[in-house]
């Protein structure tokens, strides 16, 4: 099996599996319980928070704030947007975002529009430097800026530290939310609110986090037992949190290796005719989106599947639904119909890439007419 769909999800690493196992068999106490089993769970959580805070920005100093454990990125994004905007009144205030957000952000923005907030959704294809465009769009009325660090379909990235710095300089009151699901551990991050997901970095599904900068006030989505400082009621899944921490510590995907794989892929693809590359140099090297013209994405995907090679057509979240993201990035409809997304993990090798291209070549021979 050659797994090249790591932007959809990743295989949990052995360190994560071990940590989950250990926590389930030995530290199964409720973190709110006062006895020592509860205390042990509470300690696992506290340690995991520390690890996450130290890692999230990718810089030398830890993130200045707290961590909220969630069920995943969708909850993190919803909490960030709904929880921070609920104290604002519409009409005079605006929100700046992009046309390439994940539905867990995009659909909340639509709700804000219905509530009569002004929402700007900038499309990268219209700008030379997209980070600049986002900064320029912020003014004194901007309550919130929400942008994804790395796009899940193409790997398109923005310069998050610069964005955060400049936006705060322009309007210190603007809350900056970064959806870092694909960016976490891969690009430098910063922000007032940062969403991450466990299963994209070799941890389990069902766990994510929202980083909240000190001083940011958000309202909870869930009410109940008041866990996590009243911000997210519900018994904390200690085993998943332990797994997340272990995966973060064990993560070893480095940019150089991904760059090498991407280079290899582009070289191999250049030998084939009629290929359009949808991930340019602005994109992270671990996600490569390209169009094999004349072969519909789904047919390519299943044909590669027959050879034990797993890739994605567009974004796995949208299950065959047409994506507006490629359009916002300037990819034609025709090319979008034939778009394939390959996403690497640290386990992939140049041989995997060559096998992929061999499969693509054979599929073209069979299908393209």
């Amino acid at each position: 099996m050659i797994y090249l769909d790591n932007a959809a999800t990743t295989k949990p690493c052995k360190e994560c599996v071990r940590a989950v196992n250990e926590a389930m068999s030995e530290s199964f106490g409720n973190a709110s319980s006062l006895h020592k089993l509860g205390t042990s769970s509470m300690q696992i959580m506290a340690r995991a928070k520390k690890t996450l805070l130290a890692t999230v920005t990718g810089g030398k100093s830890p993130f200045d704030g707290g961590v909220l454990f969630t069920s995943g990125a969708t909850e993190s994004n919803n909490t960030a947007l709904l929880g921070s905007m609920s104290r604002f009144r519409p009409h005079t205030l605006k929100i700046v975002s992009t046309a390439i957000e994940h539905p867990s952000v995009a659909k909340v923005l639509t709700k804000f529009e219905e509530d009569e907030f002004e929402v700007l959704r900038l499309a990268p294809k219209n700008y030379e430097d997209f980070t600049d465009a986002l900064i320029d769009a912020v003014d004194e009325n901007t309550a919130l800026l929400s942008a994804m660090a790395v796009n899940n379909e193409t790997g398109f990235q923005i310069d998050v530290p610069r964005l955060y710095r400049e936006v705060k300089r322009k309007n210190p009151k603007t809350i900056v939310h970064i959806d870092a699901v694909q960016g976490f551990l891969k690009v430098p991050l910063d922000g007032d609110l940062i969403s991450i997901s466990g299963h994209k970095i070799h941890s389990t599904k069902g766990i994510g986090a929202l980083f909240i900068r000190k001083g940011e006030n958000i309202l909870p989505l869930l009410s109940g037992g008041g866990q996590q400082n009243n911000l997210r009621s519900g018994t904390e899944p200690v085993e998943l949190i332990a797994g997340l921490e272990a995966a973060v510590k064990a993560y070893h995907g480095d940019r150089e290796k991904f760059s090498e794989l991407k280079k290899c892929l582009l070289e191999e693809l250049s030998k084939l005719s009629d290929i359009g590359i949808n991930s340019d140099d602005d994109c992270v090297p671990n996600i490569v989106n390209f169009s094999v013209r004349g072969v519909r994405s789904e047919i390519m995907l299943h044909s590669l599947e027959e050879r034990g090679i797993f890739v994605s057509s567009g974004s796995a979240c949208s299950r065959g639904k047409k994506s507006g993201v490629l359009d916002a990035l300037g990819v034609s409809d025709k090319d979008a119909d034939c778009a394939i997304r390959v996403s690497f993990s640290a386990e992939n090798t140049p041989d995997d890439v060559r096998a992929l291209c061999e499969g693509i070549s054979k599929t073209i021979e069979r299908v393209r007419r």
Binding site: L301, H302, E305, R369
Partner: protein, 398 residues
């Protein structure tokens, strides 16, 4: 108080010399379904099967729901069995008929006396029971012409059977009484409905489906298998033939005029079905074709497809429009599965401009330009078969 179920025959009641064969078949079909729910004793009398649960805790609601899907049944009636003395019946009327009568306005009583030695005759029973009902439910009025509820009492040798609700059965003939046929099942709305309709006429319906990976996906196959599983609710156990069809479709694409693609493909599907029918003794092919619905279902196109068939082709939805077909699909529970978005092999390579009025000569000429026969034999030899059993859920699809 003991509750039993009376099953009244539908069409079988009208049969002559073969009636007993049909009755046996119906009873066996019922037994096969109900044994998944509990143990029952069966007796038959005067176009009625009496089903008596052997355990007081039997879930009678599930029994009725199950019976409602068995073809050959005209009506289903739950009834209470009392000792034959009339006073006991009269004393229990209020309690047993509460659900049926509390919210009704009018009623009438029908009495039958199979036991002719009984001390009261039918009109007398009707009169006395009517009084008992009115005593228990004084708000009711008698309406012999158009009653909301008909209370029935049958005096039989073994006891008095009281009931007030008659549920319409699925009708038709018992599955198996007409032989067996092969349904060309796709992932769409129409073919499961066609299968249901022919099972209703007493056919055992098995299914044949054509897959074209990588052009069609694993999920598309799961969807069709789910449909098959859902059809077992009405059809009983179903054999599912799955034919690998990719190479034939590719050969068609590469060697035949594009505008004829769909009709040629349909013909080759029928030819494969012919072979399976001959080998496994099916007497007919069933399809979900509906006249004029798509390009391959125009009269000239159907003529060309039909010409490939060596068995009668039943097209029960041929004269129905989509709304009517959809209504049945909803009723039989396949609609929600049918509308899942996975593409099936019928749409792979479908031409942009299909010929709606193909001539059989042109079709035959195109078909003979390539050696499809050996490919057909190959596809049949690689066909897999799987049995979907009534009451077993093995396909999970979200």
């Amino acid at each position: 108080m003991k509750e039993i179920i009376m099953v009244k025959y539908g069409e079988i009641a009208l049969k002559g010399i073969n009636k007993k064969t049909f009755e046996d078949m119906l009873q066996n079909n019922i037994k096969r379904r109900l044994k998944l729910i509990g143990q029952f004793a069966y007796t038959r009398n005067q176009s009625t099967i009496y089903i008596e649960p052997q355990d007081d805790n039997t879930d009678m609601h599930t029994v009725v729901e199950s019976l409602k899907r068995i073809f050959g049944i005209g009506a289903i009636q739950k009834c209470a069995v009392f000792p034959k003395d009339f006073d006991t019946v009269a004393n229990n009327v209020g309690e047993y008929l509460k659900d049926a009568l509390a919210d009704a306005k009018t009623f009438k009583v029908e009495a039958k006396r199979a036991d002719k030695t009984y001390s009261m005759n039918s009109p007398q029973i009707q009169q006395a029971l009517g009084d008992a009902v009115l005593d228990a439910f004084p708000h009711l009025a008698v309406d012999v012409h158009n009653p909301e509820v008909t209370v029935r009492l049958e005096i039989r040798d073994v006891g008095a059977y009281l009931s007030a609700k008659r549920i319409t059965g699925a009708g038709g003939m018992p599955v198996g009484s007409s032989g067996k046929a092969l349904l060309m099942l796709s992932g769409g709305i129409d073919s499961p409905v066609a299968g249901y309709m022919m099972a209703k006429r007493g056919l055992v319906v098995d299914c044949i489906h054509y897959i074209s990976p990588p052009y069609t996906s694993e999920r598309a196959l799961l969807k069709v298998q789910k449909l098959c599983e859902q059809m077992t609710d009405w059809c009983g156990d179903i054999m599912f033939y799955c034919v690998p069809f990719t190479e034939i479709q590719e050969a068609l694409r590469d060697n035949c005029p594009e505008e004829y693609f769909t009709v040629l493909m349909r013909r080759l599907m029928v030819k494969i079905a012919n072979i399976v029918c001959k080998r496994d003794k099916y007497g007919a092919i069933i399809t979900g074709e509906s006249l004029a619905q798509v390009a391959s279902q125009t009269l000239p196109a159907l003529y060309c497809t039909n010409a490939a068939a060596e068995f009668p082709v039943f097209r029960p939805v041929i004269g129905m429009d989509k709304i009517e077909i959809t209504e049945i699909a909803r009723k039989i529970g396949t609609f929600e599965t049918s509308i899942l978005p996975y593409e099936d092999c019928c749409t792979v390579f479908s031409p942009k401009h299909p010929r709606t009025k193909p001539h059989i000569e042109d079709i035959l000429a195109a078909e003979s330009s390539y050696d499809f026969d050996s490919m057909i034999a190959e596809a049949v030899s690689k066909t897999t078969v799987r049995r979907f059993k009534y009451g077993e859920e093995t396909v999970f699809l979200d």
